[in-house]
């Protein structure tokens, strides 16, 4: 790995839907092993950004490079195979299958059959759903389905993990557990987290990128961002003041 080539680099990434500009000239760089938080009000373009990174949307213009390799315009499955895993905003799981089957589908792609089962068991343990391994995912609670999705992402052993609102709909205890897992996987993997919950951000964040109206407004350490006047105005405002 060439330390000079960043893990992920986007240049002038722009996405238009008709007259609406969802992302405008986003140039974003992420290093190996980094943990980055993206914040910004609803409609700031965070999810669109993730969709472009994972091939669910093809950018109107601009480029995306993963470890120096251009991935702009590739299909979702091709990008996934290069090592980018995503937990989407709305739980995106196989509702008709069991928890174990969900994890297995992700785990088997990178392991030999012999090691698939131990890996699935390990992931089930990590997301604390071993006791529900046989349950149909569609019947689980919102928070549990979030866990299943995080589990499928982990089982695929990606190089870069994108988490879109991982703590949404979780209890306080579950949220703490999520933060714990994020710190744990960050020992070996780079992670980008989109989150609204500032308490959660404070638990995990080092560097924070602020999106506003489709653009990157600022990028700095968590404390600097929280202290920034513009950030308070567009997004945090009352929350921090209160």
């Amino acid at each position: 790995m060439d330390p000079l080539v960043p893990l992920l680099k986007t240049e002038h990434l722009t996405m238009r839907f008709g007259g609406v500009v969802a992302n405008d000239d986003v140039s974003f760089t992420l290093g190996e092993m980094e943990l980055r938080c993206l914040i910004g009000p609803n409609g700031a373009g965070k999810s669109t950004f993730f969709k472009m990174l994972t091939g669910q949307l093809t950018p109107t213009s601009g480029t995306i490079a993963f470890r120096g390799q251009p991935v702009t315009g590739l299909q979702s499955h091709q990008i996934a195979r290069l090592g980018i895993g995503i937990k989407t905003q709305v739980p995106n799981v196989f509702n008709g299958l069991s928890v174990r089957e969900n994890i297995w589908l992700s785990a088997r792609r990178k392991t030999t059959p012999k090691f698939t089962k131990p890996l699935v068991d390990e992931i089930l343990e990590k997301i604390r759903l071993t006791h529900l391994a046989g349950a149909t995912v569609g019947q689980l609670s919102h928070g549990q389905r979030q866990w299943v999705e995080i589990g499928t992402v982990l089982a695929g052993d990606p190089e870069l993990i994108l988490l879109d609102e991982p703590a949404a709909g979780m209890t306080d205890e579950e949220t703490h557990r999520t933060a714990e897992i994020i710190r744990e996987i960050n020992q070996t993997r780079a992670i980008v987290v989109v989150e609204h919950d500032m308490a959660f951000i404070k638990m995990i964040a080092r560097t924070v990128t602020v999106f506003h109206q489709g653009r990157i407004m600022m990028e700095d350490g968590i404390d600097a961002v929280l202290a920034d006047r513009r950030v308070r105005d567009v997004y945090l405002g009352k929350k921090v003041a209160a």
Binding site: S76, H77, T88, L132, G134, A135, T136
Partner: protein, 347 residues
């Protein structure tokens, strides 16, 4: 029902079915045996759509396209080769390749569900129209005249592998057809238990998530579609062998509709359901055909509407859940994890 017991029962059922295929000619008259042979050939056709619709989520309104292609391929090849063995293989291969070409066109074009229905239906109509207008000497493949709307009469029936002189008796024809039905069922079971089958079901459940995990949904669907085409082609060959005749009505839309009815009645998402539905409806059709009181279209229509409104999951899944419910009441002892599943599943 605990898994090992269920598996044992299923194994016994398969053995029973094999035994039934073997001994049936001893007990049935030739006419009834021929009728059973037809049911079995149609059962294979039912499995072909049951597989792609139930497990691949691909609703084809024109499964008879592959059925008909298989039938015509078999007829033309058997006439030219003078031997049925390679003709059967071609009748599987050619529809599979046709499915590959059509599937590539459809799935790689990201065409949605309804449109897929339109395209398969349209392709069937095209084939019907084209084959229907092949009357005359100009339309001859080798020694086989396609014969337009008259079809191809006196198609050679099956013979023992690579021995054209040993033409199969109707009893042996039944063994081959019934055996093919069981073999296709077992092969599909194996396929569904394999990683490919499990990924196919995952793609049906959630295409986006499958892609985000690194699976190419287009490729998986294409594979499922090809399996369906190959099996429908085999059914076509079995059907032509049954009647020693093939005509353009093999591509008919009413037959395409009937396959969908079989599956709706029997139960989508199972393999046994389509076969059950197929046999029930065919039996009913035969009964209606022998009397004048009811029009068969009317009866079929009422059945289809009734099932969609009142029993949309079909006979087999409904029965299975009823049995599982019974098992739950009589067997209280079970591990916590599976109890959770059962409760979750019952909600």
């Amino acid at each position: 029902m605990p898994a090992p017991l269920s598996r044992l029962l299923q194994g016994l059922a398969v053995l029973g079915a094999i035994a039934l295929v073997v001994v049936l000619p001893t007990y049935l008259e030739l006419f009834t045996l021929m009728q059973m042979t037809l049911f079995a050939a149609m059962g294979v056709l039912a499995l072909s759509l049951g597989f792609i619709w139930g497990f691949g989520g691909i609703l084809s309104f024109g499964q008879t396209a592959f059925f008909g292609l298989g039938g015509y391929t078999y007829a033309v090849a058997a006439i030219n080769f003078g031997d049925s063995t390679n003709a059967i293989l071609l009748a599987i291969l050619f529809p599979a390749l046709f499915a590959a070409a059509l599937g590539y066109f459809v799935f790689y074009g990201r065409i949605s569900e309804v449109y897929l229905g339109v395209i398969t239906l349209t392709v069937t109509l095209i084939l019907f129209n084209v084959v229907n207008s092949t009357a005359g000497d100009a339309y001859t493949i080798g020694q086989a005249r396609l014969g337009g709307f008259n079809g191809i009469p006196s198609v050679p029936t099956f013979n023992a592998p690579y021995t054209p002189d040993a033409v199969l008796t109707p009893e042996a024809g039944w063994w081959v057809t019934g055996g093919a039905l069981i073999a296709v069922y077992l092969l599909m079971r194996l396929l569904l238990a394999s990683p490919f089958g499990r990924i196919a079901v995952a793609v049906r459940e959630n295409e986006t998530r499958a892609a985000l995990l690194g699976y190419d949904p287009r490729l998986i669907k294409l594979g499922v579609f090809m399996v369906g085409g190959a099996v429908a082609g085999l059914a076509g060959a079995l059907y032509v062998n049954w009647g020693a005749f093939v005509g353009p009505t093999i591509f008919s839309l009413s037959l395409s509709a009937e396959i969908i009815i079989w599956i709706t009645v029997g139960g989508l998402g199972t393999l046994i359901g389509p076969v059950v539905g197929c046999v029930l409806i065919q039996f009913l059709n035969a009964k209606i055909g022998s009397q004048q009181a009811f029009n068969s279209n009317l009866v079929l229509g009422v059945i289809l509407v009734g099932f969609v409104l009142l029993l949309p999951r079909g006979i087999v899944p409904t029965l299975r859940d009823a049995l599982a419910g019974l098992g739950r009441r009589t067997g209280p002892r079970r591990a916590p994890a599976s109890a959770r599943t059962q409760i979750a599943g019952a909600e």
